[in-house]
Amino acid sequence: MTATPAGFDALVALTTGDEDLQRWLHDYQLDAKRWRDAAMAELGAPEAWRDAVAAVRRHTVAHLDEYLVQFVDKVQEAGGEVFLAATATEAREHIAAIVRARGARRVVKAKSMVTAEIGLNPALEEMGVEVVETDLGEYIVQLSGEPPYHITGPALHKRLPEIRALFSEVAGEELPDDVEALAAFARRVLRDRFLTADVGISGVNLGVAATGTVVLVTNEGNGRMSTTLPRTHIAVMGIERLVPDWPSLAPVLTMLTRAGTGERATTYVSAITGPRRASDVDGPDELHVVIVDNGRSALLGTKYQNALTCIRCGCCADTCPVYRTIGGHAYQSVYSGPIGAVITPLLDGLDGHAHLPFASTLCGACDAACPARVPLTELLLELRSDVAARESAASSWGLGFRGFAALSERPRLWGGALAAAGAAWPAVARLPLQWLRLLAPWTGSRELPAVAPRSFRRIWAGGRGGRRGRGC
């Protein structure tokens, strides 16, 4: 999928034109807000918790080199293998090599955004390996051949009839129009895959540097099954997904689930330290931790460093009015919502994504909700300034803003321009509505405000405002 502004526009049109989907997404956001608010209220002092999470994450990212070294050492001490992949290609090739060496025919996967980022599934499928997503949402979008729609809710946009149709196709018979029955069907199918898979691949919600522990939060039990039943477990993580130790893990886990799904904790929180030990009753024979850079370390020490403090709860998308209007696929990236608009151009480059930082009204709802205090609006503004710097000096926006800056420095000229505009307005307003191409995006859905016949400054200078002190 090559991202383009035209593709963005087309996907936006698809979603804004679908009234049912619009209602569905808006209702979802209102539900998510209710859950999140209740979870935060129960916790108490959410702002202090957000401070704590931000402090842990910013500290970790600021000392990422040290914590990475410690984490790698500890994973190895516990008997795990570690591979540091500089690029998506390196990561794919390394994972493919492990899968090939085990002669694996079937791979089960627990939910992982970073494997979607590096395009792992198509690479494995090309080798003739069957890849089965076992998170229910991921399974649904895998069947429909779509990328995830949301960081934590990959099939958020799918409603019951569509899911029923997808599952019925797999079943080879018409399944009942019933949530329980459909879930039971998926469980039956996936259970067989867990038992017969040669390799399990998971993401990593957080890695604990002090002990080399990989932490996974899941609700369906599929994370546990994928990481314990197959003989080989490959855990894939971004280099920034670390916390120093267990005490610092606590606030991050607490807020991750409450912000993400409004839960005190997910049904399962798995902490995996090394492969199966002699005393363990189950677990894989080998554990591989693949740590993916893919553009992240380039952000360290830059104005974008704090983009790496995200904990991938998805709640920025849950609060974003633009996300609910355009949907997750419009971002043309595995990462959607405000954080997607930030990290997609940062990890993949501005080419093809330069419009994304502008897909925000800068309303700040995401900033107010983010449990890690990722300064999303600030990062979007930084990206916008990078985009503006790339625009040609003759771009209409550049010319416009330079002209306006010049007017700002010349109040008399500005006053004259207002007088001229005010005088001309009655005639201009009588022209057909589309008189100025520049304003067509406004007039397409809204009436234009009138330019006042007499500007404020003119009224003030004329004394009708009751002049006092300095004037023009």
Binding site: A388, E409, P411, W442, R446, E447, P449, W460
Partner: protein
Amino acid sequence: MITCLGDALFPRVGLAAVNVLRALGVAVDFPATQVCCGQAAFNSGYRAEARRSAEAYLRAFAASEHVVSISGSCAAMVCHHYPGLFAGSALEADAGALAERTYEFSQFLTDVLNVDRLPARYDARVTLHHSCHTLRMLGVKDQPERLLSMVEGLEYVPLARADECCGFGGTFALKMAPISASLVDDKVDAVLETGAEVLTGLDMSCLMNIGGRLRRRGARMRVKHLAEILAEGWQG
């Protein structure tokens, strides 16, 4: 701080604010070298251009004791972004000082003037759009509601999903028009659901957006800045 939009399109709002402030005993000045705070340029990524506008603003308000803005987002531009915009420059201290003494209109009335009663009467059902920057960047939450509750005869009808953006977003409304149009439609639905006769707010750019859509949809609801309601209803 009349703002460029207020100067060109809504002088009645500036005049209303001046009248209310004077009635409350404030000596009001309009430093005529002010034009624009630079918000649109800044939010579009044109920082050098924003800095030029902002520098002129710093000079214009250098002698003002308090600066009162009829637009929450312009006040937020000064309070929130000026210090960063001038960080490390000779104007850093000036920018910080201006940010310290700049207020949105309702905030100035409640937090600086400590207004707890208003001799105003306005017989209408009124609903309020909070505006994102006023709400989240300036932290102006219940100030406008407190002021509205002091107005006799005014029936305040809260807006559902009041913290949701109206979809204006400055140049966003032009650059991402279909998204903006969809959002303003949602907002207009919520505004009309209140059954109010008047929509008020603290930022004319949001009100211009919602008002423009209301008119296009043929709704007869009046749209007024809070200062207009207070000025029109002022008694004595």
